[in-house]
Symmetry: C2
Subunit: 680 residues, 2 copies
């Protein structure tokens, strides 16, 4: 991605567009100059200048080389500007101008893409809010210029990115790079992510997305990045019915956002809901050493905020362990007699900066991270506390987050802590949420190098030409050929064949109609259970033929009567963005009423299948409750993993369901199957 | 509550305690003076003055009358100070001094309470952080002095109250009264709530609680207040295992916080989790007219923040309806051509203050409230937008919340909006959460005047002397006597009686052992099902006698064999704070695995019982899924309501369970019962 260097670190920039007071190019040139870019010029028909940025009527007139074009002129002028860039050697462009595909002018967008390719130019936009590279003194945007830091943000919405930078400016914790990619005509979020992965100024990446167009490619890129640095995402449009993908059956029960949510977790991204959280979690990652465990200590000088912090910590999965007696003894040596020692350690109003320091260090000997709360009192200024906190963080090398509330020297102490690499949060609740997010990242990373997003080799077609639905015996055979446990079964086209097969399988048997036009077999009387002899089988065959009158009767499929096991459902669907998706849940009311179902982008490994099984709400039922024997979860995981390969192996499969799967104390059997092709 | 007037509106205040630089009484006197209290004096052994507050060595030396004592002197001095107050006519005291019951000195606390009573003095504290009454120029606290406003806060934690006022000071939206009641020696949260109910300066009450000592009295007080003005609560200690009440069986499955949560909702309070939310929701109530419906319009100049706002709005139960075509036509008349009209109405960067005004007014013609977002752009300053928003709010009289993000004149426009009665929130998500909270308050109020918290008249005792467990036939009789549907049943002390009863009831029957020492009957073989004749009954009786060898065998109870219905559980427990609590849930794994259970403080009306039934997750099972017939929810509601009366009617009942209740298409039957007394 070396070719993106000139995008982020140009030495000279030309701004295109009307340069009159209040006009876009005028403001942009001013922002670039104020941001510290030394060589800025302005190109517009009148050749107007903006402050010290000299004006020209054409890029070709600029005497010295220009590295980057920032374009805010009308859409129709962009193509020829890019041609001029090619002639003069400018290799990067920020196309802020709108009026392209977002306004229905896809052709014009195609033209500028072609012009850029021809001329070896990489660009962001069009229809974007520009970009910032603080380490390159590049402020090519109308949004708030943030302080320099190590968070980078890629945003599908310019305003959201701008608001993120405004939060940074308010807080003081800075930004490395901001990119608003707009229509993504050339550079997309994928390529930008891969660039930031290798960018040593970027320690954490914030993403704001409304759509994930190439879901699987996106997941792979995020997975690569997350091996190196965290990716924190707001993906909005959660509830927008217009964005709900057309997932059928099991998939549609939870809606596409559940798929997106699973996909983001699967590739290692951390999803948050609000811009505030996005900034705070990034600030934690940007400032703190890794959080390698969930045991946290809380040090406070006031009970109430301590209790609220504990509540949230426990709710977010952190561990607030009682201080061990030996550690209490050590604390007693130096803390005031009224101090609470349990965790939170409550220094009370008698606490001093030294108490804070020593208490935090002592508590961190037993914990993985610490949240330290200071609520201003007349007895203790914030600054000594800030110094104590910073010393404790230095002494232990562990993650310490601070909350400084109320008091005259709060701002000063927050700034001091920022310089010392300690992030301050607005409340203990927020601090522990960030710590929990950071612990999650390390936990996922510790899962090892097993790829979480993968593809399987296509191995053929599931359907014959012109066909988009497998008959039940065909589907059962496909399952069996792919290592999925199914009951013994036989297809029979005549009564005699049916009787012979039933005898071979052994009574009692089940007979089901086989007809490409009968979908809901039970509803139409197409399933005969518990047949105990030849006569029963003949009778059932005759009945199946009768109900299939005019429905293209092919015969029957015969199974042994299965022992009833615990019922679960496994489904495969095709998400418009993420492709094949595997779903697992409890059958019946659990799925319909509780939406107790979990998703992964397929295929999944056995290990991932086990994770899926364990994360449904009703998992205790499978593990065994009330003295019941546990179900064979291992066999189920094998089945989920094998089934999850089908869509990749046979790319003509659109969706498939095993409903129900019977789970036994030993083994699992797919008791019914439905496989549909993409043809329909 | 007239006697509290002098607490909030004293004309002269004496501060007790060491008055040296940096000492508590010194700071307090300074805060009072800075807050605008004109007549302040200081009492300490040396008679030291603080600024213009003249010092005396005794209250008795002060020449003019003193209305209130603010006491920060050592605990042991407080009693005699109160006696002096009595002598000089001071009627109110704020006792900040600590060292009373919280430090194990309950006697000393008792003494000051007695001294206050003797002398007709009302006080807050001891061990409190003081109080504020902005309209009375009273700042008797070390916490941040807030601007004047209409939110009042009562806080069990001084630091939390102080942080709340710091939020107010930062935001500018002000406070009417703040009370930190500390140990609650005299004035408790109950009396303070009732005072604030009648306080015309208070429009909304914020509460921070860690414990709810007299749960039922508290609920009644909150219920009274909520008929007049909203109460918003943070109740912390959610997860603190130390605070978990010892609820048995059904109750213990969810933990005491679920009971507290249900109790707060039941009496009409709105519970939030964080201090930030507490302030924001109060600000909404304090600033806006009532939110009388859930349809909201969103007006924005930027897509991304609009989408995030819609997501949160839908998640919090608000309705984002597509703009009707007729309204779109009206919008088209004045909006820029690129504007999005659907809802959110997206004015894009071309929007002006006039567009904001007209769009908000037009959208409000179809909606109950509006959230208006402005994200700064170089094309449009914040101030014209603020003016447009304020005009729209004035013109429609409907609730309008604003979000002003990014831009040079943001602070100024927020201040303008505040003056105009429009609250600003930090994001669209937060604004819609507040609107949703306000809509909830109005919905609960609209439920009408039916008391939600009540008591039943005690009508007797359920248990004989020395007894704390009813035998099954006794318990069944108690149920039947109290209008709860139970199966026909008969007690039989001998084989012959058993046979006679079985014949009368009609075969097949069920026989269960009756012994005060056999609790888990099924586990010990004490239940015989489906007995079809005299011989079966004789055999069962003999077996029951055999298994009760040495277990105080009393006989058997005989029932008809019941048709199996849908199983549910109804439970009564006694919460240490809220008293009798009724629980309802699905039986078996639904309760054990899913915790699908709901609570109310008992007794409940039929209407409340119906609410309980409808709020469990598995309610669709009762309503009928997959073509099954619905269960008789009305009969179930009758049973819950009748059962919920038992603890109040028979105050010697500690806990009781109907497990299971069989629910049928018509009717419901309590199939098993367990009733335990308080004696045990």
């Amino acid at each position: 991605m070396d070719d993106l260097h000139s995008l982020f670190y140009p030495e000279s920039v030309a701004v295109f567009g009307s340069a009159g007071e209040g006009k876009l190019a005028n403001i942009l040139a001013g922002r670039l100059l104020d941001g510290g870019m030394e060589r800025v010029c302005v190109i517009n028909p009148k050749g107007e200048s903006v402050r010290e940025a000299k004006g020209y009527s054409s890029l070709l007139d600029v005497p010295s080389p220009v590295d980057m074009a920032v374009i805010a002129s009308p859409a129709k002028t962009v193509g020829s500007i890019l041609e001029d860039c090619g002639k003069t050697g400018a290799k990067a462009a920020v196309i802020i101008s709108s009026g392209f595909s977002e306004a229905g002018n896809a052709n014009m967008e195609r033209e500028i893409i072609d012009a850029a390719r021809r001329n070896g130019i990489r660009f962001i936009g069009p229809n974007c809010a520009g970009m910032v590279c603080t380490h390159g003194n590049l402020v090519a945007t109308l949004e708030t210029a943030p302080p320099t830091g190590n968070i980078s943000i890629i945003s599908q919405s310019g305003a959201v990115g701008g608001s993120f930078m405004a939060l940074s400016a308010d807080d003081g914790f800075g930004i490395a790079k901001f990119i608003s990619y707009g229509n993504g005509g050339d550079l997309t979020v994928l390529e930008l992510l891969r660039y930031l992965k290798g960018d040593d100024k970027t320690r954490v990446i914030a993403l704001y997305l409304e759509t994930v167009p190439s879901g699987r490619e996106f997941m792979k890129a995020v997975q690569e990045v997350c091996a190196i640095k965290p990716v924190v995402i707001v993906k909005s449009g959660r509830t927008n019915t217009g964005r709900r993908a057309a997932l059928s059956h099991t998939g549609s029960m939870a809606g596409a956002d559940a798929v997106c949510d699973a996909a983001l977790r699967q590739c290692g991204a951390y999803r948050v809901d609000t811009l505030q959280e996005l900034f705070e979690v990034c600030k934690g990652f940007g400032a703190l050493p890794p959080v390698t465990g969930r045991r946290i200590s809380i040090v406070t000088n006031s009970g109430g905020p301590g209790v609220m912090t504990v509540d949230r910590a426990e709710m977010s999965g952190l561990l607030i362990q009682e201080t061990p007696d030996t550690v209490k003894d050590r604390l007693r040596e130096f803390l005031p007699s009224f101090a609470g020692l349990r965790n939170p350690i409550d220094l009370t109003v008698e606490g001093t900066g030294e108490h804070y320091e020593a208490a935090a260090i002592t508590a961190l000997s037993e914990n993985d991270a610490s949240v330290v709360l200071y609520i201003g009192t007349p007895y203790l200024k914030a600054m000594p506390v800030a110094k104590g906190i910073a010393s404790a963080a230095r002494a232990t090398g562990k993650p310490v987050a601070a909350v400084m509330q109320v008091g005259a020297d709060i701002e000063e102490s927050r700034a001091y802590l920022r310089e010392e690499g300690i992030p301050c949060f607005s409340s203990g609740e927020r601090a522990v949420s960030v710590i929990s997010a950071m612990a999650s990242y390390e936990e996922r990373r510790a899962l090892g190098s097993e790829p979480r997003v993968s593809d399987a080799e296509p191995s053929g077609r599931a359907f014959g030409a012109g066909c988009d639905r497998l008959l039940e015996p065909e589907a059962m055979k496909l399952l069996r050929d792919n290592g999925i446990q199914v009951p013994e079964f036989a297809f029979a086209g005549s009564e005699d064949e049916a009787v012979a097969s039933a005898q071979k399988i052994g009574f009692p048997v089940v007979v089901k109609v086989v007809s490409p036009r009968i979908i809901h077999k039970s509803d139409r009387g197409g399933v005969a259970l518990n047949l105990r002899g030849d006569a029963d089988v003949r009778g059932a065959f005759a009945k199946m033929r009768e109900i299939s009158e005019g429905m293209d009767f092919r015969g029957v499929v015969i199974y042994p009567m299965l022992a009833v096991g615990r019922e679960v459902i496994i489904g495969l669907t095709t998400d418009p963005s993420f492709g094949p998706v595997i779903a697992f849940g409890m059958g019946g009311v659990y799925t319909e009423v509780l939406r107790d179902i979990t998703f992964r982008v397929a295929p999944v490994s056995r290990k991932q299948a086990l994770e899926m099984i364990r994360e449904i709400k009703m998992f205790p039922l499978l593990r065994g409750v009330r003295g019941e024997a546990p179900c064979d979860v291992e066999a189920l995981a094998d089945m989920i993993a094998a089934f999850s390969m089908l869509s990749s192996k046979y790319p003509d499969i659109q969706e498939a369901d095993l409903n129900p799967v019977f789970l036994y104390e030993r083994g699992a059997l797919a008791a019914d199957v439905r496989i549909l092709g993409k043809g329909k």
